[in-house]
């Protein structure tokens, strides 16, 4: 089981155990995310997908195991040492987590002001560019998060996550709560971010369409264990009843057919 670290592995998790109080969330979770791939975590509600994400981005401290990001162990890392690492990744939270007292443009600009020495004019332009990249209309920049629709808020959150051109992007439920049209817009966006900017993307999602269309590899989590890791096609051949139900249920089949048509 213990293989040597593949060179260039972006996220490498070994034998991870996490707990919330007495409830065990993960047991012996191991996985590796390769550079430039879109890696997705799937599983039923409460199976610990988001918790795993939180552990990787150092919002939660696991009980034991190891998490390496860009080759660096993040468990127990001091804030001072974590900063260079934090600048190399961007996080989009499930509900956006935009700062409600700042406009969308200010939300994005804040990251740039904090971490770069760019001039004010260039920052404003880069901010407008990021907002345009996520497909928001230009006038959305002057609005406050409370004035935006759910889909626009997700895009604004994405604009903030990519503000620093991170090498690694974490997306927590990027399409949850969106209409199909906006959701497929996000599909395209995720793909083009990877293709053009060369990002590595790790996401948590329930969205089968998004999975079929974008994910290179997928890990299925259930009750704190990993049931399987592989491409969607590989996973759909797995025999585990839960996985079968997930991929061959009516929704799973429809999404797969859609994806085939697209290809």
């Amino acid at each position: 089981m213990q293989q040597p670290l593949e060179p260039g592995t972006v996220v490498d998790i070994r034998d991870l155990h996490t707990r919330y109080g007495k409830a065990v969330v993960h047991e012996n979770v191991s996985l590796a995310v390769r550079p430039g791939e879109i890696f997705s975590l799937v599983g039923g509600s409460g199976c610990g997908k988001s918790t795993l994400l939180r552990a990787i981005i150092m919002l939660l401290r696991p009980v034991s195991g190891s998490i390496r990001v860009f080759g660096q162990e993040v468990i127990g890392l001091s804030d001072e040492h974590a900063l260079p690492l934090r600048r190399r990744w961007g996080v989009m939270f499930e509900r956006g987590a935009l700062f409600s007292s700042l406009t969308v443009a200010e939300n994005v600009a804040m990251v740039l002001r904090e971490h770069t020495q760019l001039g004010a004019v260039l920052i404003d332009e880069v901010v407008a560019l990021k907002i345009a990249l996520t497909g928001l209309p230009a006038d959305a920049g002057a609005k406050y998060p409370s004035e935006l629709s759910g889909g626009m808020r997700k895009r604004a959150a994405l604009a903030r996550a990519i503000a620093l051109d991170p090498e690694l992007l974490f997306l927590d439920e990027p399409t949850a709560g969106l209409d199909p049209l906006s959701a497929s817009g996000i599909d395209e966006l995720v793909k083009s971010l990877r293709d053009v900017l060369g990002l590595t993307i790790m996401m948590v999602t329930h969205d089968l369409d998004l999975l079929w269309r974008t994910a290179d590899r997928v890990a299925v989590l259930d009750k704190g264990h990993i049931l399987g890791i592989g491409s969607m096609t590989e996973l759909s051949r797995l025999e585990h009843p839960l996985v079968r139900e997930y991929f061959h249920g009516p929704r799973g089949r429809a999404a797969r057919e859609q994806a085939w048509k697209k290809k």
Binding site: G8, V10, P35, G36, F70, G71, P84, R87, F99, S100, S101, T103, A105, L112, H115, T116, Q117, L118, G119, V121, L122, D124, E125, V126, V127, A128, L129, K130, A132, L133, P137, A138, D139, G141, A142, Y144, P145, S146, E147, I162, L164, D165, E167, S192, R194, D195, V196, L197, G198, L199, T200
Partner: protein, 394 residues
């Protein structure tokens, strides 16, 4: 192809972060009026690297050569910020009629540049809108007016909800009332008692010196008793509760408003006023007079201790004098104010909570306003009471 940049960045690893910097070398031909400029771009053109060359590129645009050749072959990393800077420079040069050529850009970088160019039309930095002085005053006044009429409407709605509950006592929600009695009343006992006790001590301390000069030591009981019962303890208690519970009401209702819980209540068919406002008003109207009486006792106790230690007045003598000095009316004039203060505090706190809109900032602002406003109104009401009692010769 996208992987190239990724692995390049990754392999360079830690050294990369230290020397992430973009370089620029501008070569002008030797003619007195330069006609052709060679621009050699090198290094990491990334969001963290381009800061040093930003100004030089701006300066480059304002030169007036006819031809610019960008040699981008030595750019080792390019991200959206770097690509934007390159695109902007080239675009601005072209716009003023210069001939611009780019060479040596890696294929993955040029596809990024194309993406940026395709989105460039949508890029317009937002300028914050600033209102003039006069417009600012107007907006402020209008907001004030709206706030006032909103407050009146709120008082009206609360009164109607209260009347409805009185007609149909089944509608009264006892559990929240009890809960509020516990949090706003019972849990405030220690702080109210302590502050009131200290207030009694301070008054006796200040008064003792003056009274001793006139040999009127015994009147310390009048001083402490009357000032605490009539004025200080109702006022002090109200101010403590305004800071303690009024702010909590505003913050609670405000946060519920932001997370759409208030809307959820409406759709379930519960009037928010009935569930959130009324129990608070009722509980505070019960709790504040009780707290005031408690503060009376604590204040007088403080004065009595002080009288004993500074003026050698024994507890028995003090209490005898207190009985003579105080009438029922001096007790009642104090306690009767408390329910009025309670209504003011609960109404202002809840109203400001409902005024919250949108942001976390707004919760903080309205909470502050609720405390300032309710303390202000409590003191105004106290002054009005003084005038009325004066007319009535109480």
């Amino acid at each position: 192809m996208a992987l190239d940049r990724q692995t390049a960045v990754h392999l360079a690893g830690k050294t990369m972060a230290a020397m992430e910097i973009a370089q620029l070398e501008i070569e002008t031909d030797t003619a007195s009026v330069p006609t052709s400029v060679n621009v050699h771009c090198a290094g990491t053109w990334t969001v963290r690297g381009v800061a040093p060359i930003e100004q030089r590129l701006v300066a480059l645009v304002s030169t007036d050569a006819g031809e610019y050749v960008f040699d981008a072959s030595a750019i080792s990393a390019l991200d959206t910020a770097g690509a934007w800077l390159l695109h902007r420079t080239i675009h601005e040069l072209k716009q003023r009629g210069a001939d611009v050529r780019t060479s040596g850009l890696r294929p993955e970088f040029s596809s990024l540049l194309q993406l940026i160019a395709s989105r460039a039309e949508m890029v317009e930095p937002v300028a914050p809108v600033k209102a003039g002085l006069l417009a600012g005053i107007g907006q402020q006044a209008w907001r004030g007016l709206l706030g006032f009429s909103g407050m009146l409407a709120f008082i009206g709605e609360s009164a109607i909800a209260l009347l409805r509950s009185l007609v149909q006592p089944r509608r009264i929600r006892w559990r929240p009332i009890l809960h509020n009695l516990q949090t706003a009343g019972f849990e405030a006992l220690p702080i109210t008692g302590l502050l009131s006790f200290l207030m009694g001590v301070v008054i006796a301390y200040q008064g003792a010196d003056q009274l001793r000069r006139f040999g009127a030591n015994i009147f310390i009981a009048d001083l402490v008793g009357l000032s605490m019962l009539r004025e200080l303890s109702p006022l002090l208690t109200a101010i403590i509760i305004a800071g303690r519970s009024g702010s909590a009401y505003a913050a609670q209702i405000g946060t519920m408003k932001i997370s759409e819980e208030i809307d959820a209540l409406r759709t379930i068919g519960i009037v928010p006023q009935e569930l959130l406002v009324q129990p608070k008003i009722i509980a505070l109207v019960i709790a504040l007079p009780l707290l005031t009486v408690y503060a009376d006792v604590a204040g007088v106790l403080g004065g009595m201790l002080m009288a004993n230690s500074m003026l050698d007045i024994s507890y028995g003598v003090f209490l005898d004098r207190l009985e003579e000095a105080l009438s029922l009316s001096s007790f009642l004039t104090g306690v009767i104010k408390a329910p009025v203060f309670a209504v003011i505090i609960a109404l202002v706190g809840c109203f400001q909570g409902f005024q919250v809109s949108g942001s976390a900032d707004s919760v903080g602002r309205q909470t502050t306003v609720s405390v300032v406003q309710s303390i202000f109104l409590v003191i105004v009401a106290d002054a009005l009471f003084s005038i009325i009692f004066n007319w009535l010769d109480l």
